[in-house]
């Protein structure tokens, strides 16, 4: 061991040990460190134990302290400062032999830096090798760390409190929630359920916590649900939404929608938290809605309605089968395509673009639109369109229901045309009525005015006035006849009756019938017939004569000088058909170009002034055109004003090929002279004495042998006893009426071809139609017109020789003295064919029969025998109208028709009384006429 001694000088001791103590063997302090002096001033020579105590190690003998024994031990000294503060020094004591002193080296012990500063010490009071400061620093650091820990704990506690509070709050929410809340682990077992879950499933919490969620799912849905949530777990999808059906403990089915959140704990345990609500009600509604929707779709399908859903760009989303059928396209061809490109032309596209705009504003409407189907056919669709919304209420397209209305559209167009025509017709009718009113009033005024005048002043009864009365009456008759013809044609009640006829004879007859009137006007009436015209044709000669009569009478009416020409040609003849071309031209006033289009319209004439200048009904050309249309042909007109007019038409007639058999076929129509009728035997079936008289008068005039039957029963009896060439048969008769009689006649093979001409005072088309259907060949309306009857009779009796229709003019009765008040003898006069005797007999008969009939009717009314009353009034009507008492027609019709349907006489009596009074006045006048 190196025992070399080192001498330490005092400054060195102070630098290295600023808290040292040097103590001599007498335990007196020889030196103390400078830093120790800062704490307490220590005097040189002071007794060590008077200032310090050794607290460690414990000294056993305080009387003889041996500091040398402390060598090698940690020594802790304690002493008091001047402030009585107790200080501790930590160090060691060694003995310095050279100095014969003990050396204490160490430093004060502080528990904190603050204590150090309180001792007025600083860093430089310590030797650099002394770690006391560092120790204090470390201690301070520990304090700071402790502060950090406490702060952190406070923070953690605060967060913990918040967490607990939050958990409590959420638990409370969860417990009080009205929704189902539960958690399940990765194995699908419930780990938490709230009360609502218990209530909804009817399982207790205890039960549920032993169950897996899949146990609650409706069996048919389990596989789907499990797959769904396994995917969520596998792909770690944070949140999912799913709707699924559950079965409760009681077996009841409910639907829930649930949002499931996935969470993973630190231990990698997966947990699913579900928030669910009961949507059974909504599901039920959805199902109902689906059923409803299906129902409406079925309805739409069953109603043949096409359904189409498009997006905002018209791209087709869905269609039904009917729409495919309507459009001609298949589903594959439609889906995804733009409907407007497939089906619409440009004009319709523009129209639909406007509709689309309305859709985008939420408007619904209905419209019709033309489309072209896959085959390119134009069809009309009625479309009811409405906007379609998504769940957010945004418009996403439109839905339309489509109905094919092509047929209706056609009908509609036809109706529009018909309406236009009807309106035109109505306007024309209005004009016609206004004109007719004038036309009717004119002759009526003449009749009423002149008859009043004649009644008041006998000198007024002149031939001129009587001519005026005659003209006025005929004009009225023409008006009524025209209206009836037009009505029949318009009602489609006229059918062409095809018979063999001699066109040459017919044309000659027509010429002759107009000759007199042309002679009167000094007009040249020409008939030019081509030799090529076949002799016998098959067709409706009556309608042809009506056409010719109308055209020729018009030509004559509007021609004051020059000619009226009838040219008939045969420009074309095939094997069994001949085209006959008729041209009726005149040198008359002509027709303005602008009027050429309207002259064929019913109720119109070329110029309305013409009505007033030339008279007429304005129906002639319309009737003519319609009759030509019935023949499948057309009439044409050319005209030059003040030069004349040319009417042209043709008719294709089958040619009768067996002329040699003429005697065996049905008589050919012809207009014949009265001589052709000589010796013919006709049975007149009529209950009315007045009609007897008129008809017999005509028939006698034409030297026809007439037999009379008062009803159908009598007629059958007479037919069985005698042979007749023709039957004139009244329709309404007692015992057996005309219908029954016709049936019985046609029922007998012997009378199959016996001509029957029915007679009726009724203008009812149905009655005429009915009697023709039963077998009558013709039907004439009463009062009988001699010309009509003549032509009708001629149509059944063929003769080659043709003569002029016997004129009655030469035998015209001089009625200049006849008084003409509110009744007229014109019809009787016409029927008399010039026989004054007939006229007188007729008046006598009427004066006898009418009062009897009135009395009969009055009795029936009193006894409320209404049906008999009706029949009697019918009979009375016949007689009164014979006297031209047309102003009573309305009353008579009312009495006749109303009596058929009533069982009280309240309404009948006043009318009948008025009728009776009128007759009483007229009877006096008629008696006056009888005496003249």
């Amino acid at each position: 061991m190196n025992t070399q001694k080192i001498i330490i000088d005092l400054p060195f001791l102070h630098r290295l040990f600023p808290f040292h103590l040097l103590i001599d063997r007498q335990l007196k302090i020889r030196s103390s460190g400078k830093s120790l002096q800062v704490i307490r001033e220590i005097e040189f020579g002071a007794d060590f134990f008077s200032l310090f105590t050794i607290s460690r190690p414990r000294l056993l003998d305080l009387q003889s302290v041996d500091l040398a024994s402390l060598k090698g031990q940690l020594v802790i000294l304690e002493f008091l400062s001047t402030q009585e503060k107790k200080y501790t020094l930590r160090g060691q004591i060694d003995y310095l032999e050279k100095e014969a002193s003990f050396l204490f080296t160490g430093s004060p012990w502080f528990s904190s830096m603050d204590e150090l500063i309180a001792s007025n010490l600083t860093l430089h009071n310590f030797a650099l090798h002394d770690p006391m400061i560092d120790l204090l620093h470390v201690l301070k650091t520990q304090d700071i760390t402790m502060d950090d820990v406490q702060m952190l704990l406070r923070k953690v506690n605060k967060h913990n409190d918040i967490l607990i509070e939050s958990e409590l709050k959420y638990r409370s929410i969860v417990e009080k929630a009205t929704d189902i809340i539960y958690t399940i682990n990765a194995d699908g077992f419930f780990t938490y359920v709230n009360e609502v879950t218990e209530r909804m499933t009817a399982y207790s919490q205890t039960e549920l916590l032993t169950m897996r969620y899949v146990d609650l799912i409706r069996p048919d849905y389990r596989k789907k649900a499990v797959a769904f949530y396994l995917k969520q777990i596998r792909k770690k999808i944070q949140s999912t939404y799913f709707e699924l059906p559950l079965i409760t403990k009681s077996g009841k089915g409910i639907w829930i929608e649930q949002s499931v959140q996935i969470s993973q704990s630190n231990k990698d345990k997966i947990e699913l938290t579900a928030l669910a609500i009961d949507i059974s009600s909504r599901k039920h509604n959805e199902m109902s809605l689906k059923i409803q929707e299906e129902k409406y779709r079925n309805i739409i399908t069953n109603m043949n309605l096409g359904l189409l859903e498009v997006d905002l760009d018209h791209n087709i989303q869905t269609t039904n089968e009917i729409f495919c059928k309507l459009s001609g396209f298949s589903q594959q061809e439609l889906i995804g395509k733009r409907a407007i490109d497939l089906l619409l032309d440009q004009e319709s596209k523009d129209f639909l673009a406007n509709k689309q705009n309305q859709r985008e504003h939420g408007k619904s409407d209905m419209y019709s639109i033309p489309i072209r189907n896959k085959n390119g056919e134009k069809r009309w669709w009625l479309i009811s369109g409405a906007p379609q919304f998504n769940d957010n209420g945004e418009i996403v397209g439109s839905i339309g229901v489509h109905l094919d209305i092509t047929d209706q559209k056609k009908l509609e167009e036809e109706l529009v045309q018909a309406k236009i025509k009807a309106e035109d017709s109505s306007k024309a009718k209005e004009f016609f009525l206004a004109t007719m009113s004038h036309e009717i009033r004119t002759p009526l005024n003449a009749i009423v005015g002149l008859s009043d005048l004649m009644q008041m002043d006998k000198n007024a009864i002149s031939e001129d006035n009587i001519k005026i009365l005659n003209f006025s009456s005929k004009n009225l008759h023409a008006l009524i006849t025209g209206i009836l013809d037009l009505t029949k044609i318009d009602a489609g009640k006229i059918e062409l009756i095809k018979n063999n006829f001699n066109l040459h004879a017919l044309l000659e007859s027509v010429r002759l019938s107009f000759k007199a009137s042309c002679d009167d006007k000094n007009i040249d009436l020409r008939l030019e017939m081509s030799d090529k015209i076949p002799k016998i044709l098959i067709g409706d000669e009556l309608r042809l004569s009506q056409i010719l009569n109308n055209l020729i009478s018009n030509a004559i009416k509007f021609t004051s000088k020059g000619f009226v020409k009838i040219r008939v040609e045969c420009p074309m003849q095939e094997k069994d058909t001949a085209r006959i071309l008729f041209t009726i031209s005149d040198s008359g006033i002509g027709i303005r170009k602008k009027n050429l289009k309207t002259i064929f319209r019913a109720f119109e004439q070329a110029d309305r002034n013409i009505v007033r200048q030339f008279g007429g009904t304005g129906l002639g050309l319309s009737i003519t055109q319609k009759l030509i249309h019935l023949h499948g042909s057309e009439i044409y007109v050319t005209s030059k004003l003040n030069k004349g007019s040319v009417f042209t038409f043709h008719i294709d007639y089958p040619i009768f090929m067996h002329n040699e058999e003429m005697g065996n076929v049905k008589p050919v129509v012809n207009f014949l002279h009265g001589d052709s009728l000589i010796g013919k035997r006709i049975l007149l079936v009529e209950d009315n004495q007045v009609n007897h008289l008129i008809a017999v008068s005509y028939l006698n005039h034409w030297n026809i042998i007439t037999d009379i039957a008062n009803n159908g029963k009598e007629a059958i009896e007479k037919l069985e006893m005698h042979s007749y060439d023709l039957v004139l048969l009244d329709i309404f008769m007692p015992v057996m009426d005309g219908f029954e009689t016709t049936k019985k006649i046609r029922h007998n093979p012997a009378w199959k071809t016996l001509p029957i001409i029915a007679l009726t005072a009724s203008a009812e088309v149905n009655l005429i139609d009915k009697i023709i259907r039963l077998g009558a060949n013709l039907c004439l309306t009463k009062p009988l017109d001699s010309k009509e009857l003549f032509q009708a009779l001629c149509s059944f009796f063929v003769q080659e020789q043709t003569k002029e229709l016997p004129s009655t003019n030469s035998k015209k009765i001089n009625t200049s003295k006849v008084k003409m008040p509110s009744l007229s003898l014109q019809k009787i006069e016409d029927a008399s064919l010039g026989s004054l005797k007939f006229l007188q007999e007729m008046i006598a008969l009427l004066l006898l029969e009418i009062p009897q009939t009135i009395q009969e009717a009055e009795d029936q009314l009193r006894h409320k025998n209404f049906l008999s009353f009706s029949a009697t009034i019918h009979k009375l009507k016949n007689n009164l109208l014979m006297l031209s008492m047309d102003y009573l027609r309305e009353d008579l019709n009312f009495l006749e028709e109303h009596a058929k349907v009533t069982n009280v006489s309240t309404k009948l009596r006043p009318v009948f009384k008025r009728l009776k009074e009128c007759w009483e006045v007229s009877a006096l006048e008629l008696k006056g006429m009888q005496t003249l």
């Binding site: 500063i117 600083t122 860093l123 301070k140 952190l152 923070k155």
Partner: protein, 180 residues
């Protein structure tokens, strides 16, 4: 740096600009640390990000922020956290500055995870000295300036200082000439 520096920044902001502002600045800095443990080392970047966020949010130059932080470190953190340690550094400014090198040497030993700067003192005169600043970190000289200002205030001694050399100008370290 140790968390205590970042805590000092947090305290500085909260005390001067309010709790809300601190949340804004923290958000702005992008730092996701809820609590800075005083003697736990953190990435230096955190301190720079916080200082940068204060600069941006308060519209202050970064050197001003660091200077403020230096003063705060001495007057508030040093005094409040370490209390006597600061005072024990010296009985006056000169003594403290002269002790500064050995103080940091002690700190280096006490905090092994810390890379504290190293200070040297030269040209010690009655009213001045040269303070040599060696640091691995760049851009904290303004912080040192703040420390000096803070020490002046701590010892109630007027102090002036300026850089007489800097790493910015190619020198090996910064030298502050300090006078009082």
């Amino acid at each position: 740096m140790y968390g205590i520096i970042n805590r000092a920044i947090e305290d500085l902001v909260k005390e001067n600009f309010g709790e809300e502002k601190w949340l804004v600045i923290k958000e702005l800095s992008g730092i996701d640390v809820d609590f800075f443990i005083s003697h736990e080392p953190y990435d230096d970047a955190i301190t720079y990000q916080l200082a940068g966020a204060i600069s941006a949010e308060m519209d202050m130059h970064i050197d001003a922020v660091l200077g403020l932080l230096g003063e705060w470190w001495v007057l508030r953190t040093g005094m409040e956290k370490y209390g006597g340690l600061m005072k024990a550094g010296g009985s006056n400014l000169k003594e403290f500055l002269i002790n500064l090198p050995s103080f940091h040497s002690r700190v280096m030993l006490m905090y092994p995870k810390l890379s504290p700067p190293e200070f040297q003192v030269s040209h010690v005169e009655e009213n001045g000295l040269y303070l040599h600043y060696h640091s691995q970190r760049i851009g904290l000289k303004a912080f040192v300036g703040g420390l000096l200002s803070g020490l002046g205030k701590l010892y109630s001694s007027p102090i002036s200082f300026h850089l007489i050399q800097s790493r910015d100008e190619g020198a090996t370290h910064e030298i502050f000439k300090v006078n009082w």
